[in-house]
Symmetry: C2
Subunit: 311 residues, 2 copies
């Protein structure tokens, strides 16, 4: 046994452990064979997991280790937000490239910063190192919000479709710095009856399609209502695609798309919730179509845009 | 968007989903932004996570994709066993090398086989592919056993130290085919008051050391009592290390080491639990030492053997 090497890993684990404040939700944390967590008054848990790989989800540069750590947790929080869940605890597994103590601590620093901001306990994990690129896998647990979980499958014909924030051009930087919409989701579910919700990781057109398929409904989206980011406009100048194409097709906006009844939709417009930006972008229909109205009032099928998954 | 590629990932996810039987513990499974799981009558969950990498945890060959999938879940079940927990659900994230549909389905097949054997629901995950080697990260959830969780930190001076199974030479094949000691742990905690327990992943000497450190106690281990596997004997012929050194130092036996009071220890010997093999290997002491008695009655410090972690 190489004691120095052995000590290296336990030193890292000790350091990670020292960064975690005492938390009543974590009855037994880092350092045993498993953690014991306490959901306090819930028999149910919302669980999501995402694996991020260097070269796919971030590259160094433009990403810093800090931002890579931050993003690794943020994408999981975005999934909890999409369920209307309250963050509880997270488990962080890594295959670390051997880039030194500072690099590793900055990576975890970005992750812990966001964990603190959204009050999610880092309750365990698995640290490995290898000669390969950074791989991070986080499992985030939450508890259902006061009105239960919001799925993708509850959209009803006539519902208004809303989106938070703005869309497109995330690759220019937003995908590393976005704020997971936890607060927005909890506030929205408090104010109105959210029928269905999804977070936009593959792209607005693509993820809304997933919601429609899960709900067994159709939709008409109004192109003129889609909030387009300045990054999408800037990219459109460079690559010749329209800003709308970027807004509909680009991945990793990590905004929320959600559906509410027309009366709740009207309420959201008449009495805007403070500090949350949301925009009505279309309506749910009972027909098996997915349409886009353009600025000239023409209706066409929603273009097939979005992130390509390859397995 | 490349539709064919897009379809590939969703085809895999659909296939995975179809392999999972309906399970009342999974109220919302694969296919939404997160799963909703039901602990039925527990506010607490036991959670463990392990990341396995091709090249470190298995190579192809001698591993088959089936056995790699099996091992990826088995190491997590071994951690649940060490806590005396009842398996509940697991979340599987992968970065898959692009080796074709058959390879991928065999990998998941090994995993699902073991999940079925130990009644753990596959409730979600994240599928990715890349040009790198296979990386698997599984988070397994359990519920505390009838007498609560068993930690590493409860060993008391005078306790007898027991070990399940036998040790050494796991690299010859056992590390791919071992049976996680879930049933043994639940049976033992049912029959006696287990004070402390750990599963042996780093090696018997190393992991018992972790238990002693967590409990703040010492130990004297009797070398002649350690159950040595035939694989350890076979390796000793080849490499010149003794079989005992293999038994103490080799990693990935995935057996349990546990501590009970002398009266419970005597009960385990007088009334052997059917179908479980366990052996008393030493005693816990209140002195800050960790000693090994050899076959000549000589006592020496436990050698520093075991798996090397490098970060």
């Amino acid at each position: 046994m190489n004691n120095a090497a052995h000590r290296d890993e336990f030193t890292l684990i000790d350091w990670i452990k020292r960064q975690q404040p005492d938390d009543p939700r974590v009855r037994l944390g880092i350092g045993d064979d498993a953690a014991l967590i306490d959901f306090v008054d819930s028999y149910n848990a919302v669980v999501t997991t995402d694996m991020l790989m260097e070269g796919t989800d971030f590259t160094f540069p433009p990403a810093s280790p800090f931002l890579a750590g931050r993003k690794s947790l943020a994408v999981n929080l975005s999934d909890l937000a999409a369920m209307g869940a309250v963050p509880h605890s997270a488990f962080v597994s890594v295959s670390l490239p051997r880039r030194g103590k500072t690099w590793t601590e900055e990576f975890f620093g970005g992750l812990f910063d966001l964990a603190k901001e959204f009050d999610i306990a880092i309750a365990g994990g698995d640290t490995n190192s290898w000669d390969g690129p950074l791989v991070v896998s986080i499992t985030a647990l939450g508890t259902p919000g006061p009105r239960g979980v919001i799925t993708r499958s509850g959209a009803q014909p006539g519902d208004w479709i809303f989106a938070t924030g703005e869309f497109g051009g995330s690759i220019a930087g937003h995908h590393l710095t976005f704020i997971p919409r936890i607060r927005e989701a909890l506030s929205l579910t408090h104010h109105v009856d959210v029928h269905a919700m999804i977070d936009v990781s593959d792209g607005l057109a693509s993820d809304l399609r997933h919601l429609l398929e899960a709900s067994g409904v159709g939709a008409i989206v109004d192109a003129t209502h889609i909030p387009i980011s300045s990054a999408a406009w800037e990219l459109s100048v460079i690559d010749g695609k329209t800003a709308l194409e970027h807004a509909l097709g680009d991945g990793e906006d990590f905004e929320l798309v959600f559906c509410v009844s027309p009366s709740d939709g009207q309420r959201l417009l008449d009495n805007p919730i403070e500090e949350i930006r949301y925009t009505p972008i279309g309506v749910i229909t009972d027909e098996a179509h997915y349409l886009l109205n353009n600025e000239r009032g023409e209706t066409s099928p929603m273009p097939q845009l979005g992130w390509v998954h390859r397995v």
